[in-house]
């Protein structure tokens, strides 16, 4: 009885004792943890608290009284904003769904092509990486100049083909979104292709050989081997692309400024306007909180639906 207690306490003490190198380990992890606490966790908590208060730097004398859910009611009714948060959410979610579908289709096609033993594919892979590495806002500016109605290269080609001179970003909602999608694809399709290519190259070749022996058709091979084996890579790409498409900001800011009217206002663009342009941390804070919740929801949905079925 007593000896068992002693033994247990000895074990407990041993578990509490520092292992060799453990204290050093925590000391080495500390800078990263403290930095991330200071620049992510702390601002997120402060932002949550600010979203329940009145907090406008342009009216510092108003103080910071507690408002309950009034900021949330205001953002969903569009008070103090160009459009309601609901409208911006709708724009963003529809755009995210469409752009991710387009990017993954194109990226997969390019990855399948690069997986073939073609001479010069290494050079092609390097060149395709260049648009990915350029700053996003610079990519947006490149496409803004290319799509310009008088001087742009796309306009030049369309004009010579007799397809007219569309106005793109200034004209219709659809044209503006198309322009955004083109700039976005130019940057992100290479990323998707490279990740999926790595996934394709990880598929054991003998699976294909076995399928060939069994006389499987190309479509059967693709659906029975390629797609299931590609699942982990596809999941990574889906999560990353959906999250960053949902948070699209740079391209909107550089190409359309949310226009024409408020047709291309996304959540991040609206949030930036509230926080930095109007310095209203209460209203902006509420948009941020909704944005974080939707982002977490997206990640959770993928986890739920794409769990490996074994």
């Amino acid at each position: 009885m007593q000896s068992a207690g002693v033994r247990r306490s000895v074990r407990a003490r041993r578990a509490l004792r520092w292992r060799p190198g453990e204290r050093l380990g925590y000391a080495m992890v500390a800078p990263v943890l403290l930095a991330l606490l200071a620049i992510t966790a702390y601002p997120l908590v402060v932002n949550l608290l600010d979203s329940f208060r009145s907090y406008n730097l342009l009216y510092p004398t108003a103080g910071n009284p507690y408002l309950g859910l009034r900021n949330y009611r205001n953002v969903f009714n569009g008070v103090g904003l160009d459009t309601t948060l609901g409208t911006a959410l709708e724009h963003t979610i529809i755009y995210a769904a469409i752009s991710v579908a387009v990017e993954i289709t194109l990226g997969l096609a390019i990855a399948l092509l690069l997986d073939r033993p073609i001479r010069g594919r290494g050079i092609a892979r390097t060149m395709i990486l260049l648009p990915w590495a350029v700053p996003t806002v610079v990519a947006a500016i490149v496409w803004k100049t290319l799509l310009d109605q008088q001087t742009g290269g796309v306009d030049y080609i369309l004009g010579n083909l007799g397809l007219g001179h569309p106005a793109w970003t200034g004209a219709s909602t659809l044209a503006a979104w198309t322009a955004i999608l083109i700039a976005d694809c130019w940057q992100t399709v290479p990323f998707v292709a490279i990740i999926l290519l790595a996934g394709l190259q990880g598929i054991p070749r003998d699976l294909y050989e076995a399928a060939a022996v069994d006389g499987a058709s190309r479509l059967q091979v693709f659906r029975g081997i390629t797609l299931p084996m590609l699942r982990p890579a596809l999941l990574v790409v889906l999560v990353f692309r959906t999250l960053s498409a949902f948070l699209i900001f740079d391209i909107i800011y550089a190409m359309t400024q949310g226009g024409p009217g408020t047709a291309t206002e996304t959540v991040a663009f609206q949030d930036f306007g509230a926080i930095i342009t109007n310095l209203d941390f209460g209203l902006g804070g509420a948009i941020s909180v909704v944005m974080v919740i939707v982002a977490l929801l997206i990640a959770w949905l993928y986890r739920l639906t794409l769990k490996p079925t074994t």
């Binding site: 080495m28 990263v32 402060v46 700053p135 926080i275 941020s288 990640a299």
Partner: protein, 292 residues
């Protein structure tokens, strides 16, 4: 290849007319060339028009390549002080990369190779921190920087950029360092090193490729930042290059695309150099870390 004797071609293959047969053999190469051209064409267009004088397109309209190439646009943007903005981008990206490497190589080593409890929790927190929308931290960070005098400084933007770089770099180094054989430090410690000297003399040299990969990603991410520069920098001479291009595009030149094109080329050049020199490392990092 297409000159295979008829006797060797399988009987099931339908005999197609020669041009179609050629296409059937070579379509992947053609598709690859087409796709690469499509992705490179925007750069070509921007380069060509950065070398064109504004008066030329006013006279002769839009052309694919200017009749008279000139460096006048580059001289003009240098006169307007754009190199100061490139310097700002270099400063911000260098500060961010230095801090990131210092912090994340320590943490990556500890997570990968030291017997610490809760490593999964620590790594989970680091990765999760990288997933939150930066816009949700913008307001409180703005206040933090204002109260500490970091607003409108390169240091402020560099610190904010750590949100992009620290999670990726720590994760990358932790997973790459975990692949090194365990005997390295043991051998070094038998030879009389303590853990710190073993890290400095043995691990860091062996881990140099992994650290280079982390450095490249940190630099590209910090160089690409726009949102923080837009939010925290107020004086145009301090703007980073991407921010400055947009500022110039909406104020000074309005629609003078030839000047904008020149700024785009100058901003893209350092990144081009990095990609061309280190594309293998980038692909390794992308497929291990998958971010941006």
């Amino acid at each position: 290849m297409s000159a295979t004797p008829a006797a060797l071609t399988p009987p099931t293959t339908r005999r197609l007319p020669t041009p179609l047969r050629w296409l059937q053999h070579h379509w992947p190469t053609i598709a690859l060339i087409a796709i690469t051209t499509l992705f490179m064409a925007p750069f070509f267009w921007v380069l060509s028009h950065s070398l064109e004088s504004t008066s030329e397109w006013e006279h002769s309209g839009v052309t694919i390549w200017p009749a008279h190439t000139t460096l006048a646009n580059y001289q003009e943007i240098i006169r307007l002080g754009f190199l100061r903005n490139v310097l700002a981008s270099l400063a911000v990206a260098s500060i961010t990369t230095t801090i990131t490497l210092l912090f994340s190589s320590l943490a990556g080593y500890a997570i990968a190779r030291l017997p610490i409890r809760g490593r999964g929790l620590i790594l989970g927190f680091v990765i999760l921190a990288g997933f939150f929308p930066v816009m949700a931290m913008m307001g409180p960070m703005y206040l933090m920087f204002r109260n500490t005098g970091l607003l409108n400084t390169w240091w402020g933007v560099s610190i904010a950029d750590l949100i992009y770089t620290l999670p990726l770099s720590t994760w990358l180094l932790a997973s790459l360092l975990a692949q090194l054989p365990a005997e390295i430090e043991e051998a070094a410690m038998v030879d009389g090193c303590n853990r710190i000297t073993a890290l400095w003399r043995v691990i860091i040299p062996v881990a140099a490729p992994a650290i280079t990969t982390a450095a490249i990603f940190s630099f590209i991410l910090a160089w690409s930042d726009f949102a923080f520069s837009l939010s925290f920098l107020e004086t145009p001479t301090r703007y980073t290059a991407p921010r400055a291009i947009l500022f110039l595009g909406t104020s000074k030149f309005l629609t003078d695309y030839n000047l904008i094109d020149a700024t785009v080329i100058i901003t893209a050049l350092p990144i081009f150099a990095i990609v061309l020199l280190a594309q293998r490392k980038i692909v390794t990092g992308l497929t291990a870390g998958a971010v941006k």
